[in-house]
Structure formats: C-alpha cells, structure tokens
Symmetry: C2
Subunit: 281 residues, 2 copies
C-alpha cells in the first residue's frame, strides 16, 4: 500500500490509473478506523480495480467548541488495518495541503444542510460539501462509498454530485453495528463504561420505534414520542433531536406515507452520537 | 466539428480523449461570438490536442431585471465560426440539462466576489463560479482560456480552481479590441450608432489614465478622478464604478505600489460595458 501526502502526487496517480482504464473506488474517512470503515473498504474493493482511502480530519466541518483538536487519531493502527485490506493508496494530506492560506471558496448544498444535524452544527455541512468536492477533484474516483450512519451527509453528497455534475457514483453502505446494536463510530471511544451502556438507548429506541411502525403506526409524532420516552429512561443521555423525515428531501413528515428516515442525535458524556433507521412501507 | 448537447455524451467524449493521453483545451462562452472569442479559441488550439468550446447562456449569473432573455444569440453563425476554427467539439447544452429541477447547490468565492461588478450584480459571481465548476466537471479540460476583459471573473476562477483543487490550468487572454479601441463584447450589439461612438470613452479614458500613471502618478484617487472627468464629457455614459485595485486580491488601492488593475463599468443606453487596464510598474 502506497501512502500519498500531496495533491499533485495523488492526482498524478489517479490520472495514470484512469488512462489504464482502471476503475477507482474511494472511501473518504477521518481515520481512527473501526469495522464500519473496513466494511466500506471491502465494498469499495468489490466495485473498483483500485481502492483509495483518505484519512483527513477536516477542520472546516467542526464548529467552534467542537472536538476537532481532541478527535481521536491513530495513524499507525489505521495504516496497518488498511494494508491488511489490500488498499492501493492511503491518501493522508496535511491540513495545510488541503487548506493553504488564503482560501475563500465554499460549496453549499442549501436546503438539505438546514435540518437535523445542520440545525445544531452551523457550517458543518458546508465544510463537508467543500472538502468532499476537493477530495473528489484530487482522487478522481469513479465511485465513492459512504456509511448510512451519517444519513444526512450521504443525502447531501448525492445532491452535491448531481448538482455540480460530478462524474462520481455515490454508494451508501448500511450501518455497521456492534453485537449489542450500538452503531460503530470513532466517537464511541469517548464513552466511559457506564456511558457505553447508556448509549444502547439509541439503537434500542430505534428498534422499538420500528416495531411500532411495523404494527401499523404511521403517525410520526407517536413514533417520535416513543423514542423520546425510551431515551428519557436513561439519565446519562440528553436528546438533541429525534425526527422523522422524507428520506430524500429530509422534510419533516407528520404522516409516514413514503420512504422515511427516523434520525436522532443524543449526547452522552462528551460524545455526540447519531443513529437512524429507514422506515420503508 | 461535433455538436454535443448532453452531459453524459460530453463527459464520455472527454474521458475517451484523456485515456488517449490527449490534452483538452476549453473555451467556455455565452455565444454570439466575436473576434475576441475566436482569439481565445486560437489560444486553446495552441495549448491543447483537442479544443472544446461551450455555448451556454447561463441564467444563474443574471440578476433579476438583467438581460438574460434579451441576451444576443445566433447559434447558426456561432456554429459556422467555430467550424472554421477547427474546433473539435461544440458543447451546447439546454438550460434544463445543466439545471434540472431541484438543484440547491452553489459555489461561492467569497471575498473576490464582493467588490466591483459583484457590488452591483448580486449573485452574479456565485452563478459564474457554480456554472464554471459544473462545466469543468463535464468537459474535464486540462486547460481553460478566459478573456481578461472580465478581469474579476478571471481572478475568481483562478481562486476557485486553487481552492477546490481542480486540476485545470487557467489561462488569461489579453483584451481584444476593435480598431478604434472599444473592447469586444457581445453586448456591444446593444449599442445604437451614437452610443457606439460614446462607448469609446471607456478605452480612451483608460489610455489617458495609463499615460498619467506612466508619467509617475501613483496616487489612485488622482487617476480615478481623471477617468471620471473624461467619461463625464460623454452625456450618453453613466458610470457604475471606476476603481483601482490590487490585481490579485481586488482590494482597493490608494497608492499604486504593486501590480494593480484600473477597472470600470459604464452604462450606455441599455448596454452595461466593462473594461480595464493593468497598471504595472
């Protein structure tokens, strides 16, 4: 596995591969890899002749006061995990390589960036849309794989690619969970043992909500109420939002009469955790 | 010369050329071509193995009340002119091809978009930055040629390409002028004969200003005053702005102590004309 740190070397590699007619599959990450990331890498391996993984903790998608400086990092371990997956290139640029002084351009996906995580993390999705645009321009992938845990991010990237006419196929990968149901996340490392236990309220309340939906409940506020009351039982958990939205537009739904997503964000200790479940009739 | 109207056919063509290791040079235009455009095409021919010219009157760069509907168009003539220049592809998409319903993404080059034309045309450079990003993603050029008449646009596109890590070289081409000095522009077609004569005040005042600068005047307000007084002699002309700015940052200058641009916008009849002169010490 080759490690590339500069934009020009990365693009040069990709252009050479493209001239050879090879399909490039790309998995952008912020590192501190877990099994969820590795599932994305394996999905990339199935779709591409070459697999590129980026590790870049993107400062512009953290709001002031968020956990940019403390975001978990372990490059040596990430490197070993990716080498074991037969990744072709690990793209690992420095912050100054991606954001040299004097930058003033950003990409906004307006409507989809407003609700859910966008409401409590101002500028977050602008940072995501801008860095993904840059990474695509550098890595030149044919296909890119994103996890569905970050459901809003995935929809924003699909919209971004469509709206800016990028020639990249976007593939969503189902949420990968721990055996007890917790959605895998680098931020789970923030959880103390009792918080780790408390964090089960996210996936467990989603499962209860799904059962209620399966039994015929289509009135969104009733399902949201169930989730809120389940999480309220857990004193370490503080709800940021619980919403049911149209899965495409992310418009909030009252009646679940189309493909919907039940999405939530919950703070437990210093971890802000998200999870979601698609509600399909 | 091939005419291509869809995004997928255009990208397919460019990807095939790139696999053959051919350099693609691109000239984006809004059509109604004049000798200025043809000079850009010839510059492209020198730099690329293949030349693509786009004709697309981009609605998002016109503010409400501007001349989008009335912007001059003559596809048959443009087609003939480009065929005579041995252009390889004329990319001529419909508005719905570039902007299908539901789009919500835009690209902003923040600081450079604020002064000069940006001050009087809100949203103009957002529209430019967004459509140029899209066109680059579709045409996949190695190099793109832009005229220096739209000096602010050129600086914004250079910044855009740098900030979004696009692998496109941006080349500026000197302003092409009529024999009497008027900068060539599709909008010159709006001018009635007496207005056409009045329009000479733009280039003539710039020349006088340059002579003053050559004689040692480096105090920007003195040079601006000369330009304003020259244009004031012409009753058909209404100044929108006359400014001297740092040529890179477009920050207004008081003392001309670095590479500067003297830029102006003047309304004559229903034509809004722009012109500029670089002041190099």
């Amino acid at each position: 596995m080759q490690i590339i740190e500069t934009i020009s070397a990365m693009r040069g590699w990709s252009e050479a591969e493209r001239r050879q007619n090879r399909l490039i599959a790309f998995v952008p990450t912020m590192g501190f890899l877990h099994e969820g990331h590795l599932c994305l890498v394996r999905a990339a391996r199935k779709r591409g002749d070459r697999v590129v993984v980026s590790i870049f903790v993107n400062p512009t998608q953290f709001s002031p006061g968020e956990d940019f400086a403390g975001y978990p990092r372990n490059f040596a371990r990430d490197h070993e995990l990716l080498a074991n997956e037969n990744v072709d290139v690990l793209f690992h640029p420095a912050v100054e390589e991606i954001y040299p002084a004097g930058g003033q351009t950003h990409v906004d996906v307006e409507k989809l960036s407003l609700p859910l995580c966008g409401a409590s993390r101002p500028g977050h999705f602008r940072g995501v849309a801008t860095v993904v645009t840059k990474l695509f321009n550098i890595v030149l992938p044919h296909v890119a794989i994103f996890g569905e845990k970050d459901f809003q991010q995935l929809q924003i990237i699909r919209q971004l690619v469509r709206d800016l006419s990028m020639g990249v196929e976007i593939v969503g990968h189902p949420i990968v969970r721990e055996p007890d149901g917790l959605a895998m996340s680098s931020r789970n490392s923030y959880l103390a043992p009792e918080e780790r236990l408390a964090a089960l309220c996210l996936s467990q309340s989603l499962c209860k909500a799904e059962r209620l939906f399966r039994r015929g409940e289509t009135y969104a506020p009733a399902i949201v109420r169930l989730v809120l009351s389940e999480i309220a039982k857990q004193p370490l958990a503080a709800v940021e939002y619980v919403k049911i939205c149209d899965a495409q537009t992310l418009d909030e739904l009252e009646e679940i009469n189309r493909l919907a997503v039940l999405a939530l964000a919950v703070r437990i200790g210093r971890a802000r955790l998200i999870d979601n479940k698609t509600l399909r009739q």
